[in-house]
């Protein structure tokens, strides 16, 4: 049985197949409308979420299946002290596949070890968020026509931003990707990501000011400073508006420098940037549904000819 805990669970060939399938779903949605008739997805969300949970549920419904689950640890038996291992064993009796989001790092891995059904990591604390990575990459592939040979700037909270960790680890598997990490010193990318890039000989640079590097970027991935990851409110307040991408700043960027963001956005991208054709963050959400549909089909071993 296959799970999706990190993007590295898939080979590059399997990722290509997944993106091809997602692209085919985008073109021919009706072909897949009954692929999962009679199937159910359990969305086990111990942390609040809008996009990811609804996206998984929409993905399963688009395939003809149904969704069940909970949104918030207070609504689950976790509030009574039930372990992740026990919860997933119980849920395995109700559903065919599960998507789990948890505030503790490694929770989805633990769930997969005790599960009788495929488990998808829908975000585990500040660690990984593989389906976000898949949809980020799908967006890049559709917009740029390739997943290699470009300079990508990643800006904001690079320490706790799980979308960043997953994206860098996965992009580092492709050739010719140069990373520019833009963050305040307190929110620098963790050492294990740097170790990984060093080990594989990838080129990267770290800087503090976005305006110093924006002209050389082919892609800009903005992130939010996440209040929920801070133990100290004072630190959060000091750092939350460190970066604001404005129309003026966009004028100095390349004509085809697309801006991605995992959303939700707070202040880090000015609303005036939304009308710029290079603003791709809402397209990402749409691609997210197609990628999750492709992932559900792949993990359930369902082929549609």
């Amino acid at each position: 049985m296959r799970h999706c805990i990190t993007p590295s669970d898939f080979t590059l060939k399997e990722l290509d197949d997944l993106f091809d399938l997602a692209a085919d779903i985008e073109k021919n949605p009706e072909k897949y409308a009954h692929a999962c008739d009679g199937k159910k997805i359990a969305t086990l969300f111990y942390e609040p979420s809008t996009r990811t949970r609804l996206s998984f549920e929409a993905a399963m419904m688009n395939l003809g299946g149904k969704a069940l689950g909970f949104a918030g640890a207070s609504q689950s038996s976790a509030a009574k002290g039930e372990s992740v291992a026990d919860t997933i064993r119980v849920v395995s009796c109700f559903a065919d596949i599960a998507a789990i989001r948890h505030n503790k790092e490694g929770a989805a891995l633990v769930a997969s070890q005790f599960s009788d059904i495929p488990v998808i990591n829908a975000g585990d604390g500040g660690h990984e968020h593989p389906t976000q990575t898949l949809l980020d990459m799908m967006t890049i592939r559709q917009l740029k026509g390739r997943l290699s040979n470009f300079t990508i700037g990643i800006c904001g909270d690079l320490k706790f931003g799980r979308t960043v960790h997953s994206l860098v680890k996965t992009m580092a598997r492709y050739e010719g990707v140069h990373f520019v990490f833009i963050s305040p010193p307190e929110l620098k990318v963790p050492d294990y990501i740097i170790d990984l890039l060093d080990e594989k000989g990838y080129t990267y640079e770290e800087c503090i000011k976005l305006e110093d590097v924006i002209t050389k970027l082919d892609l800009l991935y903005m992130t939010r400073v996440q209040r929920e990851r801070f133990f100290n409110e004072e630190d959060y307040i000091r750092l939350k508006d460190f970066y604001v991408l404005t129309e003026k700043l966009m004028r100095s960027a390349k004509k085809d420098m697309y801006v991605l963001h995992p959303l939700p956005r707070v202040n880090e991208i000015s609303v005036e940037v939304d009308k710029d054709p290079r603003a791709a963050y809402f397209k990402q959400v749409q691609y997210g549904v197609y990628v999750r549909m492709a992932l559900i089909l792949t993990l359930l071993g369902i082929r549609v000819d």
Binding site: S83, K104, E105, V110, G126, D195
Partner: protein, 149 residues
Amino acid sequence: MLNVGKIVEGIVLDHIEAGKAMLIYHYLHLDREDYPVAIIKNARSNDMGRKDILKVECDPDLINLDAVAFVSPQATVNVIKGGKIVEKKKMTLPAEIKGVLKCHNPRCISSVEQELPHIFYLADAKRGIYRCRYCEEKHSYGETAKMFL
């Protein structure tokens, strides 16, 4: 010259980096057992200048030595049976350390999940760096004192 009596059955950990014997003592959970144990600290050594030695009288098969190398990579193990050395082992960093070290990342699932084994995998053999299997938090052997379960 310091003399410690020979043991009939057990293990002798030799060439331990000076000052590390107590760490290994705790790692092997010898504080929880009633085996006779001799700890020799800062013994003279031609090769190392100073070294620690640990002798434990017990059934050698009962001691999990997998991660001795994590604490002191150059340590050697002599297995004693019938008063004679029956095996000499050179320690190597194990691919996985299970149930010995504790992950201290408060955001790790292992900090809350009931009876979940603490597992570390060898991420960088050259630098002796292990990472938590669940959260990938880095731990190197210099930090071991605060990491025992």
